[in-house]
Protein backbone atom coordinates (compact mmCIF):
# COMPACT_ATOMS: atom_id res chain seq x y z
CA UNK A 1 0.00 0.00 0.00
CA UNK A 2 1.47 3.28 -1.14
CA UNK A 3 0.47 6.06 1.28
CA UNK A 4 1.12 8.86 -1.18
CA UNK A 5 -0.97 7.21 -3.84
CA UNK A 6 -3.77 6.56 -1.35
CA UNK A 7 -3.72 10.18 -0.21
CA UNK A 8 -3.98 11.54 -3.75
CA UNK A 9 -6.73 9.04 -4.53
CA UNK A 10 -8.75 10.34 -1.59
CA UNK A 11 -8.22 13.96 -2.65
CA UNK A 12 -9.18 13.19 -6.25
CA UNK A 13 -12.20 11.20 -5.10
CA UNK A 14 -13.46 14.11 -2.99
CA UNK A 15 -12.93 16.72 -5.72
CA UNK A 16 -14.59 14.65 -8.43
CA UNK A 17 -17.57 13.96 -6.22
CA UNK A 18 -18.00 17.59 -5.27
CA UNK A 19 -17.90 18.38 -8.96
CA UNK A 20 -20.74 16.04 -9.82
CA UNK A 21 -22.69 16.87 -6.69
CA UNK A 22 -25.52 18.53 -8.71
CA UNK A 23 -26.28 15.11 -10.20
CA UNK A 24 -26.48 13.42 -6.79
CA UNK A 25 -28.57 16.26 -5.45
CA UNK A 26 -31.29 15.97 -8.08
CA UNK A 27 -31.32 12.17 -7.78
CA UNK A 28 -31.86 12.55 -4.05
CA UNK A 29 -34.62 15.08 -4.61
CA UNK A 30 -36.48 12.63 -6.83
CA UNK A 31 -37.25 10.53 -3.73
CA UNK A 32 -38.41 13.34 -1.47
CA UNK A 33 -42.06 13.88 -0.65
CA UNK A 34 -43.64 17.31 -0.97
CA UNK A 35 -42.98 18.36 2.61
CA UNK A 36 -39.33 17.26 2.61
CA UNK A 37 -38.79 18.98 -0.73
CA UNK A 38 -39.24 22.49 0.61
CA UNK A 39 -37.66 21.99 3.98
CA UNK A 40 -34.75 24.27 4.88
CA UNK A 41 -32.13 23.29 5.87
CA UNK A 42 -32.39 20.66 3.15
CA UNK A 43 -32.60 17.11 4.40
CA UNK A 44 -30.09 14.53 3.29
CA UNK A 45 -31.49 11.67 5.33
CA UNK A 46 -35.21 10.98 4.91
CA UNK A 47 -37.60 8.17 4.08
CA UNK A 48 -37.57 7.78 0.31
CA UNK A 49 -40.95 7.77 -1.43
CA UNK A 50 -42.11 7.07 -4.98
CA UNK A 51 -44.63 9.94 -5.07
CA UNK A 52 -42.76 11.89 -7.71
CA UNK A 53 -42.65 8.95 -10.07
CA UNK A 54 -46.39 8.37 -9.66
CA UNK A 55 -46.89 12.04 -10.40
CA UNK A 56 -44.71 11.67 -13.49
CA UNK A 57 -46.95 8.88 -14.80
CA UNK A 58 -49.99 11.13 -14.36
CA UNK A 59 -48.12 13.93 -16.13
CA UNK A 60 -47.72 11.66 -19.18
CA UNK A 61 -43.93 11.72 -19.13
CA UNK A 62 -43.68 7.97 -19.63
CA UNK A 63 -44.87 8.46 -23.20
CA UNK A 64 -42.06 10.98 -23.70
CA UNK A 65 -39.44 8.51 -22.52
CA UNK A 66 -40.97 5.90 -24.80
CA UNK A 67 -40.80 8.38 -27.70
CA UNK A 68 -37.11 8.92 -26.99
CA UNK A 69 -36.55 5.17 -27.02
CA UNK A 70 -38.37 4.71 -30.33
CA UNK A 71 -36.69 7.61 -32.12
CA UNK A 72 -33.24 6.77 -30.77
CA UNK A 73 -33.54 3.03 -31.41
CA UNK A 74 -34.69 3.23 -35.03
CA UNK A 75 -32.35 6.01 -36.12
CA UNK A 76 -29.30 4.38 -34.50
CA UNK A 77 -30.02 0.98 -36.03
CA UNK A 78 -30.16 2.46 -39.54
CA UNK A 79 -27.23 4.80 -39.02
CA UNK A 80 -25.03 2.00 -37.71
CA UNK A 81 -25.90 -0.29 -40.60
CA UNK A 82 -25.26 2.32 -43.30
CA UNK A 83 -22.19 3.50 -41.40
CA UNK A 84 -20.69 0.05 -41.21
CA UNK A 85 -21.06 -0.65 -44.93
CA UNK A 86 -19.55 2.70 -45.90
CA UNK A 87 -16.77 2.36 -43.32
CA UNK A 88 -15.77 -1.04 -44.67
CA UNK A 89 -15.56 0.18 -48.23
CA UNK A 90 -13.69 3.35 -47.23
CA UNK A 91 -11.25 1.34 -45.17
CA UNK A 92 -10.52 -1.35 -47.75
CA UNK A 93 -10.73 0.17 -51.20
CA UNK A 94 -9.18 3.05 -53.02
CA UNK A 95 -11.37 4.91 -55.44
CA UNK A 96 -11.65 8.38 -56.96
CA UNK A 97 -13.26 10.91 -54.65
CA UNK A 98 -12.54 8.88 -51.54
CA UNK A 99 -10.57 11.63 -49.83
CA UNK A 100 -13.23 14.13 -50.74
CA UNK A 101 -15.85 11.93 -49.08
CA UNK A 102 -13.73 11.55 -45.96
CA UNK A 103 -13.10 15.29 -45.82
CA UNK A 104 -16.79 16.00 -46.23
CA UNK A 105 -17.65 13.55 -43.48
CA UNK A 106 -15.27 15.11 -40.97
CA UNK A 107 -16.30 18.63 -41.95
CA UNK A 108 -19.89 17.99 -40.90
CA UNK A 109 -18.53 18.05 -37.34
CA UNK A 110 -18.02 21.80 -37.73
CA UNK A 111 -21.45 22.72 -39.06
CA UNK A 112 -23.49 24.71 -36.57
CA UNK A 113 -26.86 22.93 -36.20
CA UNK A 114 -28.66 26.26 -36.29
CA UNK A 115 -27.95 26.47 -40.05
CA UNK A 116 -30.06 23.37 -40.59
CA UNK A 117 -33.14 24.16 -38.58
CA UNK A 118 -34.85 26.32 -41.19
CA UNK A 119 -34.28 24.16 -44.30
CA UNK A 120 -35.07 20.94 -42.43
CA UNK A 121 -38.20 22.50 -40.96
CA UNK A 122 -39.32 23.64 -44.43
CA UNK A 123 -38.40 20.36 -46.15
CA UNK A 124 -40.29 18.29 -43.64
CA UNK A 125 -43.27 20.65 -43.71
CA UNK A 126 -43.51 20.31 -47.50
CA UNK A 127 -43.27 16.54 -47.21
CA UNK A 128 -46.00 16.64 -44.59
CA UNK A 129 -44.01 14.62 -42.07
CA UNK A 130 -43.25 17.37 -39.55
CA UNK A 131 -44.35 16.27 -36.09
CA UNK A 132 -43.93 12.56 -36.83
CA UNK A 133 -41.40 10.08 -35.53
CA UNK A 134 -40.19 9.76 -39.11
CA UNK A 135 -39.10 13.39 -39.31
CA UNK A 136 -36.90 13.06 -36.23
CA UNK A 137 -35.58 9.68 -37.30
CA UNK A 138 -34.60 10.97 -40.74
CA UNK A 139 -32.79 13.92 -39.23
CA UNK A 140 -31.00 11.86 -36.58
CA UNK A 141 -29.70 9.33 -39.10
CA UNK A 142 -28.06 12.24 -40.90
CA UNK A 143 -26.76 13.62 -37.63
CA UNK A 144 -25.04 10.42 -36.49
CA UNK A 145 -23.99 8.94 -39.82
CA UNK A 146 -20.73 10.91 -40.25
CA UNK A 147 -19.54 9.92 -36.80
CA UNK A 148 -20.68 6.34 -37.29
CA UNK A 149 -18.76 6.01 -40.60
CA UNK A 150 -15.64 7.68 -39.24
CA UNK A 151 -15.37 5.80 -36.00
CA UNK A 152 -16.28 2.40 -37.46
CA UNK A 153 -13.64 2.98 -40.11
CA UNK A 154 -10.94 3.36 -37.46
CA UNK A 155 -11.94 0.02 -35.98
CA UNK A 156 -11.99 -1.73 -39.37
CA UNK A 157 -8.58 -0.16 -40.10
CA UNK A 158 -7.23 -2.01 -37.06
CA UNK A 159 -8.14 -5.37 -38.61
CA UNK A 160 -5.44 -6.66 -40.94
CA UNK A 161 -6.49 -7.00 -44.56
CA UNK A 162 -4.91 -10.48 -44.55
CA UNK A 163 -7.93 -11.66 -42.62
CA UNK A 164 -10.17 -10.54 -45.47
CA UNK A 165 -7.95 -12.37 -47.91
CA UNK A 166 -7.91 -15.56 -45.86
CA UNK A 167 -11.70 -15.54 -45.65
CA UNK A 168 -11.88 -15.02 -49.38
CA UNK A 169 -9.64 -18.04 -49.96
CA UNK A 170 -11.92 -20.08 -47.71
CA UNK A 171 -14.79 -19.17 -50.01
CA UNK A 172 -16.69 -16.88 -47.66
CA UNK A 173 -19.17 -14.51 -49.27
CA UNK A 174 -18.83 -10.87 -48.21
CA UNK A 175 -21.84 -10.96 -45.95
CA UNK A 176 -20.84 -14.26 -44.37
CA UNK A 177 -17.41 -12.74 -43.76
CA UNK A 178 -19.01 -9.73 -42.06
CA UNK A 179 -21.27 -11.88 -39.94
CA UNK A 180 -18.87 -14.61 -38.90
CA UNK A 181 -15.53 -12.84 -38.76
CA UNK A 182 -15.34 -9.07 -39.06
CA UNK A 183 -18.27 -8.03 -36.89
CA UNK A 184 -17.33 -10.34 -34.00
CA UNK A 185 -13.76 -9.02 -34.20
CA UNK A 186 -14.71 -5.36 -33.96
CA UNK A 187 -17.75 -5.91 -31.74
CA UNK A 188 -16.42 -3.90 -28.77
CA UNK A 189 -15.68 -1.01 -31.13
CA UNK A 190 -19.14 -1.23 -32.64
CA UNK A 191 -20.64 -1.09 -29.15
CA UNK A 192 -18.73 2.14 -28.56
CA UNK A 193 -20.01 3.57 -31.87
CA UNK A 194 -23.50 2.54 -30.83
CA UNK A 195 -23.25 4.23 -27.46
CA UNK A 196 -21.86 7.50 -28.80
CA UNK A 197 -24.46 7.73 -31.56
CA UNK A 198 -27.11 6.88 -29.04
CA UNK A 199 -25.99 9.64 -26.69
CA UNK A 200 -26.08 12.31 -29.37
CA UNK A 201 -29.65 11.39 -30.33
CA UNK A 202 -30.94 10.79 -26.80
CA UNK A 203 -29.56 14.17 -25.65
CA UNK A 204 -30.55 16.21 -28.70
CA UNK A 205 -32.98 19.04 -28.07
CA UNK A 206 -32.88 21.90 -30.62
CA UNK A 207 -34.24 19.97 -33.59
CA UNK A 208 -36.54 17.71 -31.59
CA UNK A 209 -38.18 20.81 -30.15
CA UNK A 210 -39.07 22.00 -33.63
CA UNK A 211 -39.88 18.70 -35.32
CA UNK A 212 -41.94 16.92 -32.66
CA UNK A 213 -45.66 17.19 -31.95
CA UNK A 214 -47.31 16.86 -28.50
CA UNK A 215 -47.74 13.12 -29.16
CA UNK A 216 -44.21 12.41 -30.42
CA UNK A 217 -42.29 14.70 -28.06
CA UNK A 218 -39.13 13.01 -26.73
CA UNK A 219 -37.96 13.32 -23.12
CA UNK A 220 -35.50 16.14 -23.83
CA UNK A 221 -38.30 18.36 -25.14
CA UNK A 222 -40.66 17.59 -22.27
CA UNK A 223 -37.89 18.23 -19.76
CA UNK A 224 -36.86 21.54 -21.29
CA UNK A 225 -40.46 22.75 -21.28
CA UNK A 226 -41.43 21.28 -17.92
CA UNK A 227 -41.91 24.59 -16.18
CA UNK A 228 -45.60 24.96 -15.33
CA UNK A 229 -47.64 28.14 -15.05
CA UNK A 230 -46.84 28.36 -11.37
CA UNK A 231 -43.15 27.62 -11.75
CA UNK A 232 -41.39 24.32 -11.31
CA UNK A 233 -42.71 21.23 -9.59
CA UNK A 234 -39.24 20.19 -8.49
CA UNK A 235 -40.27 16.70 -7.42
CA UNK A 236 -41.57 15.98 -10.88
CA UNK A 237 -38.55 17.59 -12.54
CA UNK A 238 -36.15 15.54 -10.42
CA UNK A 239 -37.94 12.28 -11.12
CA UNK A 240 -37.85 12.87 -14.88
CA UNK A 241 -34.21 13.98 -14.69
CA UNK A 242 -33.40 10.69 -13.00
CA UNK A 243 -35.26 8.54 -15.54
CA UNK A 244 -33.77 10.51 -18.42
CA UNK A 245 -30.13 10.57 -17.32
CA UNK A 246 -29.59 7.34 -15.43
CA UNK A 247 -29.51 5.13 -18.56
CA UNK A 248 -26.70 7.36 -19.85
CA UNK A 249 -24.73 7.09 -16.62
CA UNK A 250 -25.07 3.30 -16.63
CA UNK A 251 -24.05 3.08 -20.29
CA UNK A 252 -20.90 5.12 -19.89
CA UNK A 253 -19.79 2.92 -17.04
CA UNK A 254 -20.38 -0.13 -19.20
CA UNK A 255 -18.13 1.20 -21.96
CA UNK A 256 -15.52 2.81 -19.71
CA UNK A 257 -12.73 1.12 -21.64
CA UNK A 258 -13.67 2.77 -24.94
CA UNK A 259 -14.80 6.07 -23.52
CA UNK A 260 -11.58 7.99 -24.02
CA UNK A 261 -10.99 6.69 -27.52
CA UNK A 262 -14.52 7.46 -28.58
CA UNK A 263 -14.48 10.93 -27.13
CA UNK A 264 -11.13 12.03 -28.47
CA UNK A 265 -11.88 10.63 -31.90
CA UNK A 266 -12.15 13.17 -34.66
CA UNK A 267 -10.27 15.45 -32.34
CA UNK A 268 -7.01 13.66 -31.84
CA UNK A 269 -7.17 11.09 -34.56
Amino acid sequence: MNVNKLLWTIIAFIIVNIYIFPVYWIYLTAFKDRATLFELPPKVIFTPVWDNFDELVRYGAIQAVLNSVIVTGVSIAISLFLGFLAAYALSRYRFPGKNLILFYIISTRMMPPIVFIIPIYMMFSYLGIKGSYLSMILFYIGLTLPFSVWMTKTFVDDVSIEIDQAAQLDGFTTFKFFRKILIPMIAPGLVAVLVFSLLSVWNEFLMANILSSPQTRPASVVLANIRGERGFNWGRVAALELIYTIPVVILIFLIQKYLVRGLTLGVVR
Partner: protein, 297 residues
Protein backbone atom coordinates in the same frame (compact mmCIF):
# COMPACT_ATOMS: atom_id res chain seq x y z
CA UNK B 1 -14.90 -10.09 -52.41
CA UNK B 2 -12.51 -8.01 -54.42
CA UNK B 3 -15.45 -7.04 -56.56
CA UNK B 4 -15.14 -3.32 -57.13
CA UNK B 5 -18.80 -2.81 -57.92
CA UNK B 6 -19.79 -4.17 -54.53
CA UNK B 7 -18.00 -1.51 -52.52
CA UNK B 8 -19.66 1.22 -54.54
CA UNK B 9 -22.91 -0.29 -53.50
CA UNK B 10 -21.66 -0.01 -49.89
CA UNK B 11 -20.63 3.64 -49.95
CA UNK B 12 -23.49 4.99 -52.00
CA UNK B 13 -26.32 4.79 -49.42
CA UNK B 14 -24.39 6.67 -46.74
CA UNK B 15 -23.09 9.31 -49.12
CA UNK B 16 -26.45 9.75 -50.84
CA UNK B 17 -28.09 10.10 -47.45
CA UNK B 18 -25.68 12.82 -46.39
CA UNK B 19 -26.26 14.64 -49.66
CA UNK B 20 -30.00 14.68 -49.16
CA UNK B 21 -30.11 15.47 -45.45
CA UNK B 22 -26.94 17.47 -44.99
CA UNK B 23 -25.60 19.09 -48.13
CA UNK B 24 -28.98 19.80 -49.72
CA UNK B 25 -30.41 21.58 -46.62
CA UNK B 26 -27.19 23.56 -46.39
CA UNK B 27 -27.63 24.78 -49.98
CA UNK B 28 -31.30 25.42 -49.31
CA UNK B 29 -30.40 27.67 -46.39
CA UNK B 30 -27.84 29.47 -48.54
CA UNK B 31 -30.45 30.02 -51.25
CA UNK B 32 -32.99 31.24 -48.73
CA UNK B 33 -30.52 33.79 -47.39
CA UNK B 34 -30.82 35.71 -50.69
CA UNK B 35 -34.58 36.11 -50.33
CA UNK B 36 -36.80 38.28 -48.23
CA UNK B 37 -39.07 35.71 -46.68
CA UNK B 38 -41.08 36.42 -43.56
CA UNK B 39 -43.84 33.87 -43.02
CA UNK B 40 -46.00 36.42 -41.25
CA UNK B 41 -45.96 39.05 -43.98
CA UNK B 42 -45.31 37.40 -47.33
CA UNK B 43 -46.46 34.18 -48.92
CA UNK B 44 -43.81 34.09 -51.61
CA UNK B 45 -40.09 34.79 -51.08
CA UNK B 46 -38.75 37.85 -52.89
CA UNK B 47 -35.22 37.81 -54.27
CA UNK B 48 -33.12 40.52 -52.63
CA UNK B 49 -29.60 39.39 -53.52
CA UNK B 50 -27.21 40.27 -50.74
CA UNK B 51 -29.83 42.49 -49.13
CA UNK B 52 -30.25 40.37 -46.02
CA UNK B 53 -26.51 40.34 -45.45
CA UNK B 54 -26.36 44.11 -45.74
CA UNK B 55 -29.21 44.53 -43.28
CA UNK B 56 -27.55 42.21 -40.80
CA UNK B 57 -24.19 43.96 -40.93
CA UNK B 58 -25.83 47.30 -40.25
CA UNK B 59 -28.24 46.04 -37.60
CA UNK B 60 -27.19 47.13 -34.09
CA UNK B 61 -29.33 44.28 -32.67
CA UNK B 62 -26.97 41.78 -34.31
CA UNK B 63 -23.86 43.52 -33.01
CA UNK B 64 -25.29 43.56 -29.50
CA UNK B 65 -25.78 39.79 -29.69
CA UNK B 66 -22.24 39.34 -30.99
CA UNK B 67 -20.99 41.31 -28.00
CA UNK B 68 -22.98 39.09 -25.65
CA UNK B 69 -21.55 36.03 -27.40
CA UNK B 70 -18.06 37.47 -27.00
CA UNK B 71 -18.52 38.12 -23.29
CA UNK B 72 -19.93 34.65 -22.82
CA UNK B 73 -16.91 33.09 -24.53
CA UNK B 74 -14.43 35.28 -22.65
CA UNK B 75 -15.88 34.20 -19.30
CA UNK B 76 -16.57 30.52 -19.88
CA UNK B 77 -13.51 29.41 -21.84
CA UNK B 78 -10.74 30.61 -19.48
CA UNK B 79 -12.67 29.00 -16.61
CA UNK B 80 -12.99 25.70 -18.47
CA UNK B 81 -9.30 25.66 -19.28
CA UNK B 82 -8.07 26.55 -15.81
CA UNK B 83 -10.27 24.02 -14.06
CA UNK B 84 -9.86 21.39 -16.76
CA UNK B 85 -6.05 21.55 -16.70
CA UNK B 86 -5.85 21.48 -12.89
CA UNK B 87 -8.10 18.43 -12.68
CA UNK B 88 -6.16 16.74 -15.48
CA UNK B 89 -2.96 17.18 -13.41
CA UNK B 90 -4.76 15.68 -10.45
CA UNK B 91 -6.08 12.69 -12.39
CA UNK B 92 -2.69 12.20 -14.05
CA UNK B 93 -1.13 11.33 -10.72
CA UNK B 94 -0.80 7.70 -9.71
CA UNK B 95 -4.20 6.89 -8.30
CA UNK B 96 -6.20 3.85 -7.38
CA UNK B 97 -9.12 3.43 -9.77
CA UNK B 98 -8.10 6.30 -11.99
CA UNK B 99 -10.31 5.22 -14.87
CA UNK B 100 -13.32 5.05 -12.59
CA UNK B 101 -12.68 8.58 -11.35
CA UNK B 102 -12.23 9.88 -14.88
CA UNK B 103 -15.47 8.21 -15.97
CA UNK B 104 -17.37 9.79 -13.06
CA UNK B 105 -15.86 13.13 -13.95
CA UNK B 106 -16.97 12.83 -17.58
CA UNK B 107 -20.66 12.51 -16.65
CA UNK B 108 -21.42 16.24 -17.08
CA UNK B 109 -20.32 16.30 -20.72
CA UNK B 110 -22.18 13.09 -21.58
CA UNK B 111 -25.62 13.75 -20.16
CA UNK B 112 -27.98 16.12 -21.97
CA UNK B 113 -27.24 19.85 -21.58
CA UNK B 114 -30.97 20.29 -20.97
CA UNK B 115 -30.67 18.01 -17.94
CA UNK B 116 -27.55 19.77 -16.64
CA UNK B 117 -29.18 23.16 -16.98
CA UNK B 118 -32.10 21.97 -14.86
CA UNK B 119 -29.75 20.69 -12.12
CA UNK B 120 -28.50 24.22 -11.76
CA UNK B 121 -31.88 25.83 -12.15
CA UNK B 122 -32.78 23.84 -9.03
CA UNK B 123 -29.56 24.49 -7.10
CA UNK B 124 -29.64 28.20 -7.91
CA UNK B 125 -33.37 28.74 -7.40
CA UNK B 126 -33.81 32.09 -5.65
CA UNK B 127 -36.04 30.74 -2.88
CA UNK B 128 -35.68 26.97 -2.60
CA UNK B 129 -32.16 26.56 -3.98
CA UNK B 130 -29.38 25.06 -1.93
CA UNK B 131 -26.88 27.74 -2.96
CA UNK B 132 -28.95 30.68 -1.81
CA UNK B 133 -29.81 28.86 1.40
CA UNK B 134 -26.09 28.45 2.11
CA UNK B 135 -25.44 32.09 1.21
CA UNK B 136 -28.20 33.37 3.49
CA UNK B 137 -27.17 31.04 6.32
CA UNK B 138 -23.48 31.92 6.30
CA UNK B 139 -23.22 35.32 4.63
CA UNK B 140 -26.68 36.66 5.25
CA UNK B 141 -27.10 37.47 1.58
CA UNK B 142 -28.88 36.15 -1.49
CA UNK B 143 -27.99 36.29 -5.15
CA UNK B 144 -30.51 36.39 -7.98
CA UNK B 145 -28.52 34.08 -10.20
CA UNK B 146 -30.78 34.48 -13.21
CA UNK B 147 -31.36 38.19 -12.72
CA UNK B 148 -30.14 41.42 -14.26
CA UNK B 149 -27.91 42.44 -11.35
CA UNK B 150 -24.32 43.16 -12.36
CA UNK B 151 -21.56 40.87 -11.14
CA UNK B 152 -19.08 42.99 -9.16
CA UNK B 153 -15.78 43.27 -11.01
CA UNK B 154 -16.98 41.58 -14.20
CA UNK B 155 -19.52 44.06 -15.49
CA UNK B 156 -21.90 41.41 -16.84
CA UNK B 157 -25.32 40.38 -15.59
CA UNK B 158 -25.63 37.48 -13.18
CA UNK B 159 -27.79 35.65 -15.72
CA UNK B 160 -24.97 35.62 -18.27
CA UNK B 161 -22.46 34.55 -15.62
CA UNK B 162 -24.74 31.69 -14.60
CA UNK B 163 -25.08 30.45 -18.18
CA UNK B 164 -21.28 30.65 -18.53
CA UNK B 165 -20.80 28.73 -15.27
CA UNK B 166 -23.19 25.97 -16.28
CA UNK B 167 -21.46 25.66 -19.65
CA UNK B 168 -18.17 25.53 -17.76
CA UNK B 169 -19.49 22.68 -15.64
CA UNK B 170 -20.47 20.77 -18.78
CA UNK B 171 -17.25 21.33 -20.76
CA UNK B 172 -14.46 21.30 -18.18
CA UNK B 173 -14.34 17.47 -18.39
CA UNK B 174 -13.71 17.81 -22.13
CA UNK B 175 -10.58 19.89 -21.48
CA UNK B 176 -9.48 17.43 -18.81
CA UNK B 177 -9.96 14.57 -21.25
CA UNK B 178 -7.85 16.19 -23.96
CA UNK B 179 -5.13 17.32 -21.56
CA UNK B 180 -5.00 13.82 -20.09
CA UNK B 181 -4.46 12.50 -23.62
CA UNK B 182 -1.70 15.08 -24.09
CA UNK B 183 -0.04 14.23 -20.80
CA UNK B 184 0.08 10.57 -21.72
CA UNK B 185 2.43 11.47 -24.61
CA UNK B 186 5.19 12.63 -22.24
CA UNK B 187 7.88 9.92 -22.39
CA UNK B 188 8.47 8.12 -19.11
CA UNK B 189 12.22 8.81 -19.40
CA UNK B 190 11.63 12.56 -19.34
CA UNK B 191 9.57 12.27 -16.16
CA UNK B 192 12.20 10.08 -14.50
CA UNK B 193 14.96 12.51 -15.41
CA UNK B 194 12.88 15.35 -13.93
CA UNK B 195 12.50 13.33 -10.74
CA UNK B 196 16.23 12.73 -10.53
CA UNK B 197 17.02 16.39 -11.14
CA UNK B 198 14.42 17.39 -8.54
CA UNK B 199 12.90 20.14 -10.66
CA UNK B 200 10.39 22.47 -9.00
CA UNK B 201 6.69 22.14 -9.80
CA UNK B 202 6.54 25.45 -11.66
CA UNK B 203 9.55 24.61 -13.84
CA UNK B 204 8.17 21.15 -14.43
CA UNK B 205 4.95 22.61 -15.78
CA UNK B 206 6.72 25.24 -17.83
CA UNK B 207 9.52 23.23 -19.39
CA UNK B 208 8.26 19.65 -19.41
CA UNK B 209 4.48 19.48 -19.34
CA UNK B 210 3.58 22.58 -21.32
CA UNK B 211 5.58 21.76 -24.49
CA UNK B 212 3.86 18.38 -24.65
CA UNK B 213 0.32 19.57 -24.12
CA UNK B 214 0.63 22.78 -26.15
CA UNK B 215 -0.62 21.30 -29.44
CA UNK B 216 -3.63 19.70 -27.83
CA UNK B 217 -4.45 22.85 -25.89
CA UNK B 218 -4.50 24.76 -29.17
CA UNK B 219 -6.84 22.20 -30.61
CA UNK B 220 -9.08 22.30 -27.56
CA UNK B 221 -9.22 26.08 -27.71
CA UNK B 222 -10.32 26.11 -31.34
CA UNK B 223 -12.95 23.44 -30.75
CA UNK B 224 -14.33 25.14 -27.69
CA UNK B 225 -14.55 28.54 -29.38
CA UNK B 226 -16.35 26.95 -32.34
CA UNK B 227 -18.74 25.05 -30.14
CA UNK B 228 -19.45 28.02 -27.89
CA UNK B 229 -21.18 29.68 -30.84
CA UNK B 230 -23.57 26.74 -30.91
CA UNK B 231 -24.68 27.06 -27.28
CA UNK B 232 -28.43 26.79 -27.19
CA UNK B 233 -29.95 24.13 -24.93
CA UNK B 234 -28.68 25.48 -21.61
CA UNK B 235 -29.82 29.00 -22.46
CA UNK B 236 -33.27 27.76 -23.46
CA UNK B 237 -33.71 26.09 -20.08
CA UNK B 238 -31.96 28.60 -17.82
CA UNK B 239 -33.06 31.97 -19.15
CA UNK B 240 -34.69 31.68 -22.60
CA UNK B 241 -32.37 34.52 -23.61
CA UNK B 242 -33.52 36.82 -20.83
CA UNK B 243 -33.97 38.71 -18.68
CA UNK B 244 -34.35 41.26 -21.44
CA UNK B 245 -31.75 40.19 -23.98
CA UNK B 246 -28.95 39.69 -21.46
CA UNK B 247 -28.22 36.05 -22.40
CA UNK B 248 -29.20 36.10 -26.06
CA UNK B 249 -26.06 34.77 -27.66
CA UNK B 250 -26.05 34.61 -31.43
CA UNK B 251 -27.47 31.10 -31.95
CA UNK B 252 -30.36 31.85 -29.63
CA UNK B 253 -31.02 35.10 -31.49
CA UNK B 254 -31.15 33.26 -34.81
CA UNK B 255 -33.59 30.78 -33.32
CA UNK B 256 -35.86 33.57 -32.11
CA UNK B 257 -35.61 35.38 -35.42
CA UNK B 258 -36.71 32.20 -37.20
CA UNK B 259 -39.30 30.69 -34.88
CA UNK B 260 -40.71 33.68 -33.06
CA UNK B 261 -40.32 36.35 -35.73
CA UNK B 262 -40.75 33.82 -38.58
CA UNK B 263 -38.21 35.78 -40.60
CA UNK B 264 -36.61 32.86 -42.44
CA UNK B 265 -34.64 35.01 -44.88
CA UNK B 266 -32.71 37.08 -42.33
CA UNK B 267 -32.29 34.11 -39.99
CA UNK B 268 -30.74 32.06 -42.80
CA UNK B 269 -28.40 34.89 -43.73
CA UNK B 270 -27.31 35.35 -40.13
CA UNK B 271 -26.77 31.62 -39.68
CA UNK B 272 -24.48 31.72 -42.69
CA UNK B 273 -22.64 34.61 -41.09
CA UNK B 274 -22.03 32.41 -38.08
CA UNK B 275 -21.02 29.56 -40.36
CA UNK B 276 -18.38 31.80 -41.95
CA UNK B 277 -16.98 32.69 -38.52
CA UNK B 278 -16.88 29.01 -37.60
CA UNK B 279 -15.31 28.11 -40.95
CA UNK B 280 -12.58 30.60 -40.20
CA UNK B 281 -11.75 28.65 -37.06
CA UNK B 282 -12.14 25.39 -38.96
CA UNK B 283 -9.47 26.32 -41.47
CA UNK B 284 -7.12 27.06 -38.60
CA UNK B 285 -8.14 23.71 -37.15
CA UNK B 286 -7.64 21.78 -40.38
CA UNK B 287 -4.32 23.47 -41.16
CA UNK B 288 -3.13 22.52 -37.78
CA UNK B 289 -4.55 19.05 -37.95
CA UNK B 290 -3.39 18.07 -41.42
CA UNK B 291 -0.15 19.98 -41.84
CA UNK B 292 1.24 19.88 -38.34
CA UNK B 293 -0.70 17.40 -36.26
CA UNK B 294 -0.30 14.68 -38.87
CA UNK B 295 2.99 13.29 -37.66
CA UNK B 296 1.97 13.10 -34.04
CA UNK B 297 0.10 9.85 -33.81
Amino acid sequence: MGNKKLFLFFVVPAVAYLFILNLFPLLWALGLSFFRYNLLTERVPTFVGLGNYGTILLDPAVWTRMQITGKFILISIPLQFTLGILIAFLLYKELYGRRLLLTLFLIPMLIAPVASALFFRYLLDANFGLVNWLLSEFFNTKIYWLGLGKVPGLGVEYALLTVALVETWIWTPFITLLVTAGLSTIPQSVIEQANIDDISFIDRVRYIVFPYIKPILGLALILRVMDSFKTFDTIYVLTAGGPGISTEIITFYIYKLAFQGWDFGSASALSFGVLVIILYFTTIFLNYFIFRGGEEQ
